[in-house]
Subunit: 200 residues, 2 copies
DNA sequence: GTCTTTCTGCAATGACCGTTCCAGTATATT
DNA sequence: AATATACTGGAACGGTCATTGCAGAAAGAC
């Protein structure tokens, strides 16, 4: 029917993703996105419609390729007793590596949360959902590690369940803080991950 | 010697502060700062040197007038047993008020942490110091509430001290997360504050 | 081979950015 | 009153922004 695209869309998204990750949506310029993706302006606008469209694609890719794979072991049934510890160790490795994207820039989504783009409903919902996903995963991981609810069922009213809820919220918050602190205080960020590990 | 300034510098800083608070450093435009402060460009540049100079003044003002007053009761000696609960209740009130600056925009400094400006050494240090101040305050507040170290002294090696450290880190992280989530999920932010309260 | 459709390269668009320059104004000191 | 100094208003600076328009290139369908 027509001319075929000369580039792989997903490769372009990955390249653009790292630009948004580093600079945030607002400060990522189109010329910079051109450079990173190797594409011309027309190709970007033809494929994604707008800078915002490209960013949305990057957010989806970030969730699918960066966040979810790490979280998956905590969302399976049953959850392995060591899954949470493994997740946190992996996170620590990533944040501790000063060369990696997470180590240098924290979390693409949490950075977006504090930026003007975070006011956009579509983005706000994505970030909120991610944070909730993280909290739920922490809860499952904690429960498994502590040998509670091996078959998953723990009454919501029980004291153990309340404690689990609080600790899960705390764990998720420690991870969130680690992301938030990565840019400004690398060591403090790692301390947050360690504190989360110690909560298991 | 010379003509006198026609405006109050601190009033201008407060006005500019709310602009930076809402939009972040990068997205706050000079025309908008002019509008908010009621000043002309020349006056701004004469008084503060640059947009960045004005921002620095706003950060100082934010620390001195917004952060420190709330944290003070937790930094006195001795700390009141109810000081942490009062702090968290106050924070809950501020974050819960959808009309207030914290309720709408979270924390000026934590927002800056995830933005490009967070890469500037001077800003990164300020944010890191604030976060450490918060953690230390949480520790003192927790200790007081739990009746530990009435005279403040608790050996670093004791198990109680380790627990206190972890809980303080968790508390500070819950507050940090509350700030980070305010823009994207108001209810979740309040839940974080509640979780911190429950840790006392 | 022709047609149709999509993709690509380049240039231009109007708008806004932070900063600077300059002429004019007002005041505290002498 | 004269002077030196600091503040103010307004216009202009060069630069960058996201987006669009258009001409040409490429490839599947017929």
């Amino acid at each position: 029917m027509a001319r075929t695209r000369e580039f792989a869309t997903d490769e372009a998204v990955v390249a653009a993703r790292s630009v948004f990750w580093e600079h945030g949506y607002e400060q990522a310029s189109v010329p910079e996105l051109e450079r990173a993706t190797g594409l011309g302006r027309s190709s970007i606008y033809q494929a994604f419609g707008s800078k915002r469209g490209l960013f949305d694609a990057c957010v989806e890719s970030y969730l699918a390729e960066v966040i979810r794979p790490r979280l998956r072991p905590l969302e399976q049934d049953p959850v392995d007793a060591g899954a949470l510890a493994e997740y946190l160790d992996g996170l620590r490795g990533a944040l501790g590596d000063a060369g990696s994207a997470p180590g240098r820039h924290g979390c693409l989504l949490m950075n977006a949360a504090g930026a003007p783009i975070g006011r956009e409903d579509a983005i706000a919902e994505r970030v909120a959902a991610y944070r909730e996903e993280l909290r739920a995963a922490m809860r499952r991981g904690l429960a498994a590690a502590r040998g509670l609810g091996g078959s998953g069922r723990l009454g919501d009213g029980e004291p153990d369940a309340r404690l689990l809820d609080r600790d899960a919220e705390a764990c998720a918050s420690l991870v969130t803080s680690a992301f938030a602190l990565t840019r400004v205080d690398h060591a403090a960020a790692l301390r947050c991950v360690d504190a989360a590990r110690a909560m298991i």
